[in-house]
Symmetry: D3
Subunit: 135 residues, 6 copies
């Protein structure tokens, strides 16, 4: 059970309803998932976070939609956020992820978590070559 009462559409203020409507229109769905209903307990946060997610994860930019979701899931796995792993894996599957791509993703995420601790564990100095800024 969440730390706050989830706000259902029919109980929402006009301000919250407007965000819910935009989420559903943008995603072409009639469904609002729980994270938004929890954020609605603090309407300015709901509006701020939705506008960010819409801008960063929406179409446009150089990275394709599946790559964006994979990066998102990679961070969520590293941070151990079940909600985010499951909701964005679902989004990634819609955009083409299957068990094999998930397997490659998990392999890279877990390898990076391993090698991060090798570099940190041995306190390896960054090679000069890697410190040069691209022109």
């Amino acid at each position: 059970m969440a730390m706050v009462k989830l706000v259902e559409y029919e109980d929402a203020s006009p301000e919250v309803k407007a965000v819910y409507d935009d989420i559903m229109a943008t995603r072409n769905t009639k469904w609002i998932n729980n994270i938004w209903k929890a954020l609605a307990s603090h309407p300015p946060t709901l509006a701020r976070i939705w506008s960010q997610v819409k801008e960063v994860m929406g179409p446009g930019g150089r990275l394709d939609p599946l790559t964006k979701e994979l990066i998102y899931v990679a961070v969520s796995m590293t941070n151990n956020c079940e909600y985010c792993i499951r909701s964005h894996s679902a989004a990634a599957r819609k955009k083409g992820m299957d068990d094999e791509i998930l397997g490659e993703l998990v392999a890279i995420v877990s390898l990076a978590n391993q090698t991060n601790r090798l570099a940190i564990g041995y306190q390896v100095e960054v090679d000069d070559f890697f410190m040069r800024q691209p022109e």
Copy 2:
């Protein structure tokens, strides 16, 4: 300064030299970066880690080489590993990353770190829909 003496090629045992040679051949370079020289202080770890990196980050599979590096960097940014951020960003730049793609990457990584704590902070329950396994 690293926690162990870095092992230079000329001081390396045949076992370590073989790994160094494979790294240079695989990457088509004459240069060994510091992480491998630190791992060489414990030869079985050097061999094990290199064989993994070669398999997971090498060509082949469903994800393209740039996407693999971006996922790797995303994890390293979340874990705050400077060595890994800098070395794999250099690798990503070789494979096509520029400041704009880096900007999109950092935007997603930081957003995911934010929303991870929103879901955790409110202890939001995973929607049943997200728990269904794909067939």
Copy 3:
């Protein structure tokens, strides 16, 4: 189910009972929550942790009791510790936290988690100005 058998008051050694009694007296309650019953499986840890919590989170000092709890919850959200989020949010609510304050807290915690990765992701150097120690 915890990793150890929870120690109930009636089964506790005199040493453990003394800590339980002090917890209940300090908090003016007749109830011991699970974390203490788990720590009681290793009595010196129980005594050491309780004495710290009593000193650090108790009244006195410059920070008021609600602020102390908010800082505690902020850390627990960042670390994804459900037990600590829920138990110290309950404590914070007793000291005045409502959904609006929780909303502000979660907003700051999640923003800091985001901007932490922006600074780390870009490996931004600390401005000289911020390195000066206050006199």
Copy 4:
């Protein structure tokens, strides 16, 4: 050295200059610190992050400005972000933090990091009492 070229005011696009001007006006200063100059390498991120920081950390709301900064610093210490620790500690000092308050802050942050692992280490179940939602 940052991963991107820092964008100085005189080299900035009008879009970036507008954000810089708003930062300086809001903070009543003539100075832009490095994080913004790095974010300016990706202008939409600069604009998006500044608007969030302005809204969340600015005046207004139920938490006072010093408390907001202390929560921010608590998260940054937990995540080991030197840039964020130093820049927001400087902000906190401007709003009244001295060595004694910093001492209390560090005491709580480090205690919470300790007890988080006690609850996780023993896998302590959340007491029913803490799961009840406030009415």
Copy 5:
């Protein structure tokens, strides 16, 4: 429910069966636990991870088997990985861990998590003495 269908022995490919057989032979058991059944959804990862675990956690080397498991559990507690805490605590108990040793382990893990944030929170510089490499 896991993110992928667990692969049971009778449904496994010969490649996966070979790994399962080696796990059971190495551990002298007739049982495969869930993590391997999940990794089997991506056979190269299953093979790679098992070969690592067998090499690193198996007998041989300077550290005794119980110490290896305690170090493993310490990391898993710090990262909040329930699966790893529970499975490797079970392994540690088989090798001699009892509640008292677990108590000492948890005490050290939680203390290190605390003092890590003291050193980071105050941004304490490493003493020159600690930077000297052993000869």
Copy 6:
């Protein structure tokens, strides 16, 4: 440079001097390292932390002194605390750690960080067998 002025012995209050004296007597040394000088900016924290470190890391108990230091370093590597990695590695070397043991330690720490994300990434359910409490 630390966030606070380091307190040297000759400038210390009697309360702080007493702790410094106990540190030097316990460790049979004439030297105080930086972390204690930083904690001395908040004397109650200095006293509280020292008494814990003395109790938890000191002789006695079931785990031997080297094992205790290895566990401490494992946590510090996972959390990326340079001060703690370097100071406790120095302590571990005094108690018998050499490059080979360090190699085994780093191998286990990095492997656990990897497999933690495999279990989390796939959201693997804990086997019933691992949930049973030892009698």
